[in-house]
Symmetry: C2
Subunit: 876 residues, 2 copies
């Protein structure tokens, strides 16, 4: 049997979303429920895929099938295509599996030509309506199918209005509309060299093709990438009999939600316009009425609609977003779908639906998109104050949240002034030396750099607000001001920045803090009851750790020890350590760092209340800690009692061709064992002290980075255990600790069975694993990834969403190999992917013990983990 590419609405149902798209499946479902739906048919998503495979042609058998179903539709509707006595007019709309609002194209009133228009005028006794519909159709068809700009047609209308001295379209009469049709057709011919197509069947086929093509328009491609929708899904096309809301004062059209999409309140919410088409509502020329008012205008229709709305919500067990039209007093349902809603509304609705007995907790947990929670977790501008403000510039929304503070242009000044004031750090771009300033500031604004620039990555890690790449700004760093157009902002002036939108405001807009309370709290408790995957956090400071703990983190999956060394009071000893030429000098410098590190770890252990904490040994190449500016080098040389030339030579000797592939990670511990010794001592002594002080049983997990070969781990582990065991013995206490490794080098993943002979845990460093697995560095990939998206080579950013087919395969392989050697090996992920919901689901599915992510993503990961468990229970 050959494949079926077309379905009448009455042949489908709500479960056929993959084939019929969301809109088509729901139209079929409403038809089955006996609701008043203008009838028609759906051309499947497979026909779309086939169209693109066949080099953008519709196969003859599909064309025949479309015409066959057109015939069936004519029969059902009792109207005929092109029949002036009783014409069938249709809308042609796209409808993908996932809702992509506004991304693809729609054509209304298809089926009109001169004869049909004339017939329609007679039939409706409304010539203006007939020719208004006709000119709208020509306009839409020309735009969507023939790529003639809508604006040109608007221009023709404007000319006519000017000639007649009127302002509104509604002031044009039937004759004007008829003239517009003539002018539009003439314009069409002048541009296309052919008459506007008069055969409705040709119109239909061309419209269907245009919808198929629109699946690949740039807007749609970008939308899909942002929303992880594969291009292979394709879109369905719905051909539906037209109904008209603009047939007089007993007609109208509207949109409504079963609950308030902003707050979640259980009450019909929406608006309608009498004697209007959907377009008019959107155009905003007349002010629509609220849906309540329909009760007064047409009580019976309102009651019927309210009943349908109630039925649909019950049926779909979710808040519905519906479109309807009233034609001469009769209600038609044009669409229903699960409504988009704010995060707050989503939580309230989910909690309410459980209370109402409509959903179980397991079901409710799937009703909130984890990423949505983000907006509830960062400080936000006070909504009332924000309304009064206008942005002065826009950058990239690099790290969400809102911040307001006085402008400072250097990390040092930011740190200094943060002691007394709120501060926003403004930099051309940031470097590791700015870390302390970034910590101190409320937010960071950079002129250069993208979503993966240093500022963006570090700010997201901290959960700090960041607007990056704000090219509107002209920096005058030395004179301590910046300009945007004519506006000048001086050091110490207030600005406000919104890391969720990229907007920059002059002046101070107050912010309000986030907290997990009420419905949010209830909902997250359910998530925690359900999930089997633990959620830890990546935190480098006691403050971050405490924050994450309050957001529900069950431990720390990654403490990077290097950020600690950039603080102004530590970097001198760090630099002294690096430029040491003997082991003794190095040990002396390390001895200065020891108490500071120990203090850091004590703070973190305390903040985590005895939860497990994984601490990674020093990772970055040492040259990152050294100055590059000649003046800074001279200053350091003076501090260290070296000559400029000697220090410069030392710095140069640390230069690397490919720092990412250089002397870092465990390679540092192998060449300078005394660094690993000092860090182990700091960790173990801190654990002993905190256990003693707080009565905890902290089990520190010491993590060796960048291991590629089991012998590397073996060597460093020996340093760690020798040091740790001696300290523990000397202290005369019991202390359990673990030694494990990052799996972030491809070779480690494929030899994980060997590495597991030494490692008590694996933590997947998927940032580096992605970089080395693909063979491109995040810093450099910006130069070509744009083209990769445009050319559909990648559909999503592999640094944001784990590439499950490739990098994920390495992760899965490493888990299997690791467990083969050591069945109880503890497995987690600490790459930035750990907070991405699709990656969390993947980690659940391959059986990791935990994911670890930045503090602000902890609640997101908790929800994603609960959803993963619901979809694929571990203890089946």
């Amino acid at each position: 049997m050959s494949k079926k590419y077309v379905y009448l609405f009455s042949e489908g149902n709500g479960s056929m979303r993959e084939l019929l798209g969301g809109k088509g499946a729901n139209l079929a479902e409403m038809t089955n429920l006996g609701m008043p739906v203008p009838q028609g048919f759906t051309i499947t998503t497979e026909a779309c895929t086939r169209y693109h495979e066949d080099n953008r042609t519709i196969a003859p058998e599909i064309e025949a099938e479309i015409y066959e179903y057109l015939g069936k539709m004519e029969e059902i509707c009792g109207k005929k295509f092109g029949d002036p006595e009783n014409p069938l007019l249709v809308s042609v709309r796209s409808g993908a599996r996932a809702s992509m609002p506004g991304m693809m194209d729609t054509i209304l009133n298809l089926g009109l030509n001169d004869t049909v228009a004339e017939g329609l005028a007679k039939l409706t006794q409304n010539e203006r309506f007939a020719y208004d519909s006709y000119r709208r159709f020509i306009q839409m068809f020309s735009d969507v199918v023939m790529e003639l700009s809508k604006k040109d047609f608007e221009g023709i209308i404007d000319e006519m209005k000017a000639k007649k001295g009127v302002k509104l379209d509604t002031e044009l009469d039937a004759a004007d509309m008829k003239e517009l049709v003539r002018l539009f057709k003439a314009y069409y011919k002048s541009k296309k060299g052919a008459d506007f197509p008069t055969d409705p069947k040709i119109q239909l086929l061309e419209a269907v093709k245009a919808v198929f093509r629109s699946w690949e328009n740039p807007r749609a491609i970008v939308y899909r990438r942002m929303n992880d929708i594969p291009s292979s899904w394709g879109t369905a096309v719905n051909v539906q009999s037209m109904v008209y809301g603009n047939m007089g004062n007993d007609s109208g059209t509207g949109v409504a939600f079963t609950r308030n999409p902003a707050t979640g309140e259980k009450k019909l919410y929406g608006e309608f316009l009498m004697n209007a088409q959907g377009e008019d509502v959107v155009a905003g020329i007349r002010t629509p009425q609220t849906i309540d008012q329909l009760h007064e205008v047409m009580p019976e229709v309102y009651d019927q609609f309210a009943k349908i709305a109630h039925t649909l919500e019950d049926h779909y067990r979710d808040m519905q977003d519906m479109e309807f039209t009233i034609e001469k007093g009769k209600l038609y349902m044009l669409q229903t779908r699960n409504g988009k809603r704010t995060a707050a509304a989503a939580l309230k609705i989910a909690v309410d639906l459980v209370a109402e007995g409509m959903l179980t907790k397991r079901e409710a947990i799937l009703k909130v998109e984890p990423k949505q929670l983000d907006s509830l977790l960062h400080p936000q501008f006070d909504a009332a104050e924000l309304k009064k403000a206008t942005p002065i510039a826009h950058g990239l929304p690099a790290s969400p949240g809102a911040a307001c503070g006085k402008v400072y242009f250097s990390a040092e000044e930011a740190v200094e002034h943060a002691k007394t004031d709120k501060v926003v750090l403004v930099r051309l771009e940031t470097s590791p030396e700015d870390i302390e300033g970034m910590y101190a500031a409320q937010g960071v604004l950079t002129v250069r750099g993208g979503m993966t620039s240093h500022a963006a990555v570090v700010a997201r890690g901290m959960g700090a607000c960041c607007v990056a790449g704000c090219g509107d700004i002209n920096m005058h760093e030395e004179e301590k001001y910046f300009t945007v157009g004519d506006l000048r902002i001086n050091e110490g002036d207030y600005i406000s920045i919104d890391g969720s939108t990229g907007a920059v405001y002059a002046g101070a807009i107050p912010t309000v803090d986030a907290s997990i309370t009420g419905d949010f709290e209830t909902f997250m408790e359910w998530a925690d009851e359900l999930r089997t995957l633990k959620v830890r956090t990546n935190a480098d400071t006691p403050a971050d750790a405490a924050h994450a703990y309050s957001f529900g983190a069950q431990g720390i999956g990654l403490t990077r020890t290097e950020h600690m060394f950039f603080n102004a009071d530590r970097i001198p000893a760090m630099r002294e350590m690096i430029v040491s030429s003997t082991v003794e000098q190095r040990k002396a410098a390390l001895a200065k760092l020891l108490p500071m590190q120990r203090g850091d770890f004590e703070g973190i252990f305390e903040a985590m209340q005895g939860c497990p904490v994984t601490i990674r040994l020093l990772d970055p190449p040492l040259h990152e800690f050294l100055p590059t500016d000649p003046a800074d080098i001279q200053a350091l040389a003076d501090d260290m009692g070296m000559t400029y030339d000697d220090l410069k030579a030392k710095i140069d000797s640390l230069h690397e061709f490919n720092p990412m592939l250089g002397h870092r990670g465990c390679r540092l511990a192998i060449t300078y064992p005394e660094i690993a010794e000092m860090q182990t001592r700091a960790i173990i002594e801190a654990a002993i002290n905190v256990n003693k002080k707080c009565g905890f049983h902290v089990v520190p997990e010491i993590m060796v980075p960048l291991v590629g070969h089991v012998n590397e781990l073996k060597y460093v582990k020996n340093i760690i255990t020798t040091t740790a065991d001696a300290i523990i013995k000397e202290a005369g206490v019991e202390l359990k600790y673990l030694v494990g490794t990052m799996i972030e080098v491809p070779r480690a993943a494929v030899t994980a069975d060997e590495i597991a002979t030494e490692a008590e845990f694996f933590s997947f460093g998927t940032n580096d694993l992605t970089q080395m697995g693909f063979g491109f560095s995040r810093d450099d990939a910006g130069k070509f990834l744009g083209e990769y998206y445009d050319k559909k080579i990648f559909e999503s950013d592999p640094f944001a969403k784990l590439d499950q087919d490739g990098i994920g395969k390495l992760v899965k392989m490493a888990c299997e190999l690791g467990r083969k050697t050591r069945p109880d090996i503890h497995l987690g992920i600490c790459g930035e992917h750990g907070g991405d919901p699709s990656t969390v689901e993947f980690c659940h599915n391959i059986g990791l013990d935990y994911v670890s992510c930045s503090p602000f993503r902890v609640p997101i990961a908790r929800l994603a983990a609960a959803q993963a468990e619901v979809k694929n229970p571990r203890n089946k």
Copy 2:
């Protein structure tokens, strides 16, 4: 049953090499053959491993077993340890599985103390002999076991000789020897604070431990790394009854080979010394006699020895290297082993042994070490002339062969003068811009850089002679001379360099070329008959291709297209292409490059006589082609009609943080499809032209580099096939071509099943795969790999010998996945590993179709492939 750690010679046999080491197994085998072997026992390699596992202690049960076997030995020899009446004296020697000459330690005369020495003097009626033996023992034991320098003891001897006014040791008499023993013991006590051990059993145990320890001495570690011997093998220890060649004129000692190790001639070859110990032969104080002369001195002993030699060669079916001692007219065999030999001798012996019916061809093929052939494949200095010369400096032997020519200090000068003269290019270090000069020169000498520096890698690829990192040289590049000490070498002066030894000579030493003739040719024919793995070459020029073809290459596995662009006549167009700001400008520049590329490919196709040729599309990051020096930038800007600032900005915009992980490989073809188009055009047009001209059926294989995702290949393949098919159609010819990819990115290896949907062949780029798989770049790894070897984290250089456990696992996985999708997919390797014998064997075993290596390694790979087939036949 507990493990047996000690074997009498009579308990072992020749097949027990793993357990008893080579020396021990052969002593056992000779014992079994009834040959006169001083008896004793072997402590196994497992005891050595155990010793190191047990933190350098000998377990009590092993100690007991050693003493038990000492008892058995005493019984066999009829002598007793420490018995002055009839003392057992022994040698203690290491003996690993593979021969490691001179790498580990030996102690002779063990068992002596004051009482035994006195007894020995009486017993032998030779007091001088007894005390000479004693003082030698003290000296060796102190050195090997107690780490007291040999030199200090020599100093004491020198003092005594000075005091007595004599020059030679032999001029010291018995009393002197006795005095020396006293002085040695006093010195020992002064240094060690204890008496020299007198208990022979203690002496024995300490000596055994010292031999075990010597397995891990730095010399041994380096030797093992150079010879791919795993440290896990351990060494055995042979305890053998002493026999003495210095007991008078009816005693002597010698070494002999069954055939000439330099030429392979079938004739006993060796030398001996009467009234001497082995040490004396080595010391070179007296001139030894040739083995023939033994026939005159002791005809019966000679006949017996000749017969034994013949028996041993027959028995082992290989040329033997034997040590013997004659004690009072009686012959003792101390050792036999397969003799080391020159490459020429190895070939002659292998061919002769087949002719003599001693070996089959399959067996003979295993008798030549593939790496040995290298010395026969490069130009060499005329041996007679070389003898007269003395090196003025030494660098690293970076690429083998000999070269002599006039010194020039820039690539341009080298190219210019190479037209009329032989030239040696001398540079501080080389960069891609020097390629043309390197090609033109006979050899390259650099002051900086290691074995994996640019100069070294490129030179090895070309098969050109290179001495790198010759720090003895002081460059005065601008003044066009260099100095070594007081010697000044000016531009245009002759020097000669030896890339096999690293030696640099002043003046011209004539060289002679390599050719494959005679036994070499016969032997290689056998290799080709046997092997199932094809051997291709990596060649970028017609000259290299022709060279490789003459060395037996069956095609080209890798033509890099980028080197072609560095030529002085091409780089301007290349640079123009790179700094283009529009597609049109870029196409115009590419149009200039097209005829040059086409010409290159025609030359290569012709040189390869119709064999398959794989051509890789442009790979390196574009900034490599641009100048960095301000003057060069200005010159280029002038050429291009740009301002300095504009060009500098363009160059800066191409800067990358990690060029290895940057915008290169197929990423170039994706962002600049017109480059791939031009290259495809050049390849296809060249193939059509050459097929027409020569009547070949060249099937070009177009290789897309750095693919990590199947979509990358799909995109670039589409450019290639669209371009190629149009050209072929237009030309009206039949032309088959293939499109495939490098597998050099880890993600490509793990998703090879997907990539094989598009790729018709895979070529493993194991250089990059090693870099990305381990996560270190070759340029940067030098900073820590030294420590990795010292700390036994790595035992061999992963860039020289494929890491089979990790990177090899990725290769194997990719083969299996690729074949699953496309059973007939063609598989090869084109990384530098392709010429390494152990890697060739690995490639054979995992079923690759071919290996590809630099022209000079082609014969090596052919032999390695044949050996792999013999060891593991494909059609079992």
